[in-house]
């Protein structure tokens, strides 16, 4: 059974004419101990989706089912808050500058009334070791730590209440390449040891490839393709996924200049065209795409794709553009 199930999730900001739909109907599942990578460009709604899952923002519509129980209200029950944790992009901003590491780490347990005081210190010690730091870090404040160490502390803080799911929102984007690799390795070893599931949100495709079991690609508030990681990277189906992957600069010198270059820019979410939101940039666009919203359809090989040209090619091409 899935650990987390998201059904028909929608989230809009603003009212009336200023209404901006950030998430426009998302279905996804995460199994226990699994990593789902959520990729997309800025403004596609991936962070909003993560925040709604954690309960930092209430969904406008749709259901979040965690471990068989439907989440209601903005923050959910204390038990949900304990079991679902989050790590943010900028550790320097998400850590309290005036708190020492020991306080930062014991704070979640104190707030959740989860452990007796004498057990807290023990747990801090265990988790600090788990993220590869020693007890000599306990008395430091964030500014006495490097960016990589700060992110380790942020991860440790999320792990304190022994969560089942951690939402990681661009956890490595503010770090240097060399530090990035260490954090990914750390996250993987924690997962092996603790069986925690990750929702790994990132715009950095190469990082996602290193950590995710499955990948969901988001474009303008909808998931356009979802499949096991290697399938997405080796054989992408949706035209947006194809363009996105080919746009990533590769270190392979022999494939220079074989990029698919999309025309134009992502339309504003507040003025979306009718039909498929990718239509104006899509090389496969047909009349049907301009009138009808495609839905995520499962293909025989287990992946899900939201594109008429892929899921029902004959119908899509009936009418010429």
């Amino acid at each position: 059974m899935a650990l987390l199930e998201v059904r028909g999730l929608r989230k809009s900001f603003g009212h009336g004419r200023n209404r901006v739909p950030a998430v426009r109907g998302v279905d996804l599942e995460i199994a226990p101990g699994e990593t789902l990578g959520l990729v997309g460009e800025s403004g596609c709604g991936k962070t909003t989706l993560g925040r709604v899952v954690v309960g930092l923002q209430a969904a406008t519509e749709g259901e979040i089912i965690f471990d068989g129980e439907t989440l209601d209200g903005k923050l959910g029950k204390p038990e949900y808050r304990r079991r679902v944790q989050m790590v943010f992009q900028h550790p320097s901003q998400s850590l309290n500058r005036r708190m020492r590491v020991a306080t930062t780490l014991s704070e979640p347990l104190r707030l959740l009334h989860a452990s007796a005081a004498d057990q807290v210190a023990e747990r801090v010690d265990v988790v600090l070791r788990l993220v590869g730091l020693g007890p000599d870090y306990l008395r430091r404040t964030p500014r006495q730590l490097s960016g990589g160490q700060q992110q380790r502390i942020a991860i440790a803080r999320a792990l304190m209440p022994e969560p089942d799911l951690v939402v990681l929102d661009e956890p490595t984007s503010s770090l240097d390449q060399s530090v990035r690799g260490r954090i990914i390795a750390l996250l993987r070893s924690i997962q092996d040891e603790r069986g925690v599931a990750y929702l790994f949100i990132s715009h950095d495709l190469s990082t996602v490839r290193k950590i995710a079991d499955r990948v969901a690609v988001m474009y303008l508030g909808r998931i356009v393709e979802e499949a096991p990681t290697e399938q997405v990277f080796e054989d992408p189906q949706h035209p947006y996924t194809k363009a996105l992957l080919s746009a990533v600069p590769s270190m392979d010198l022999d494939n220079r200049g074989t990029r698919i270059i999309l025309e134009g820019e992502t339309p504003s979410p507040s003025a979306l065209p009718q039909g498929c939101s990718f239509q104006d940039r899509c090389p496969l666009v047909h009349t049907r795409c301009r009138t009808e919203q495609p839905t995520l359809i499962s293909l025989p090989d287990g992946r899900r794709v939201e594109c008429f040209a892929v899921t029902s090619p004959s119908q899509a091409y009936e009418v010429n553009p």
Partner: protein, 315 residues
């Protein structure tokens, strides 16, 4: 004679004995994209600012020369930087903060043209509009009248490029031009820069931390760490046969996990010897001294004592 020749460039904080850039040198040829790659704090941006003569106050140039088409840019008498704006231009990482938020796009570009080419207001206006269409902006007339906040990041970067190229520079310095942009927009900007280089034959100094972007854009590459040039050579040379332990580490960091000894230590600007010495797995006595850049293979230079000692850095 190279188009741009940087030699022995040394820059430091006033009243501090340590230098932020130490004897940095490289060249850029016409029609060539030279990549300058390094992690944050490696001195990439400092080098570009020094070349442009834009060093912030409190930071002084202590030595070295910057030559454009053989002409020294620094006046030996006064120590002043010659005005070179119409021959060297620069585009920045965050295009929106590089534009004036209170001025319409068209006016900003026109002003650059007026100042640098002594053009009349009307002429500059027409040239600015032409420059906008030139960089592939759809609806150039509308963008001409827009303010920066009304445009996307990708559009703002196109405007910056239009502004930079309006002066027909010999050298374009692009400091992380796409770091703030999405990958699909990044691909468009790369394409645009490539087209413009082919068309105008200008040289580009392309600064980035992204090895993929280097592979995509550059002809030659210079690797910087701790304000010191570690290695410089052709793209293929450096990518297929990295000579310096730091370059090897940089490539390894992308592909797999690396030796934790090399990890998570910032550059140490107080080191008298090699700036990578405190992280290098092959460090030995000689590394206590400053390693000059030496040619190892034709056209491929490395600042490391290992090759000469016969201990080329392979584990």
């Amino acid at each position: 004679m190279s188009l741009l020749e940087v030699d022995g460039l040394t820059v430091g904080l006033e009243r501090s004995p340590h230098s932020l850039l130490r004897e940095v040198g490289f060249t850029v040829e016409p029609g060539e994209v030279m990549g300058l790659v390094g992690e944050s704090g490696s001195g990439k941006t400092m080098a570009s600012l020094a070349i442009m003569g834009l060093l912030p106050s409190g930071i002084e140039q202590r030595g070295g020369t910057v030559r454009l088409e053989g002409r020294d840019l620094m006046d030996s008498g006064t120590g002043e930087i010659h005005r070179t704006a119409n021959q060297m231009t620069m585009i920045f990482q965050d295009p929106r903060s590089a534009l004036n938020p209170t001025m319409r796009i068209g006016r900003q570009i026109a002003r650059v043209i007026e100042t640098n080419q002594n053009a009349s207001r009307e002429k500059a206006r027409a040239a600015a509009l032409a420059a906008l269409s030139h960089v592939g902006i759809p609806g150039a007339k509308r963008v001409f009248r827009a303010y920066p906040h009304q445009l996307s990041g990708g559009m703002c970067q196109r405007v910056m490029i239009a502004m930079a190229l309006a002066c027909k520079p010999r050298i374009l310095i692009a400091d992380e031009p796409t770091t703030a942009l999405d990958v699909t927009i990044q691909a468009q900007i790369f394409d645009l820069i490539n087209d413009l280089v082919q068309e105008t034959g200008c040289g580009v100094l392309f600064i980035t931390h992204d090895l993929g972007a280097i592979a995509e854009m550059c002809d030659r590459v210079t690797v910087l760490y701790g304000g010191q040039v570690m290695e410089t050579g052709s793209l293929r040379g450096v990518f297929t046969q990295p000579l310096h332990p730091y370059t090897q580490f940089l490539f390894d960091a992308v592909e797999r996990e690396v030796d934790p000894r090399v990890e998570e230590k910032g550059a140490n600007f107080a080191l008298a010897g090699c700036r990578f010495g405190h992280r290098c797995p092959y460090v030995f006595e000689a590394c206590g001294q400053f390693p000059p850049l030496r040619t190892v293979i034709e056209g491929h230079r490395s600042a490391c004592f290992l090759p000469e000692e016969g201990r080329i850095g392979a584990p």
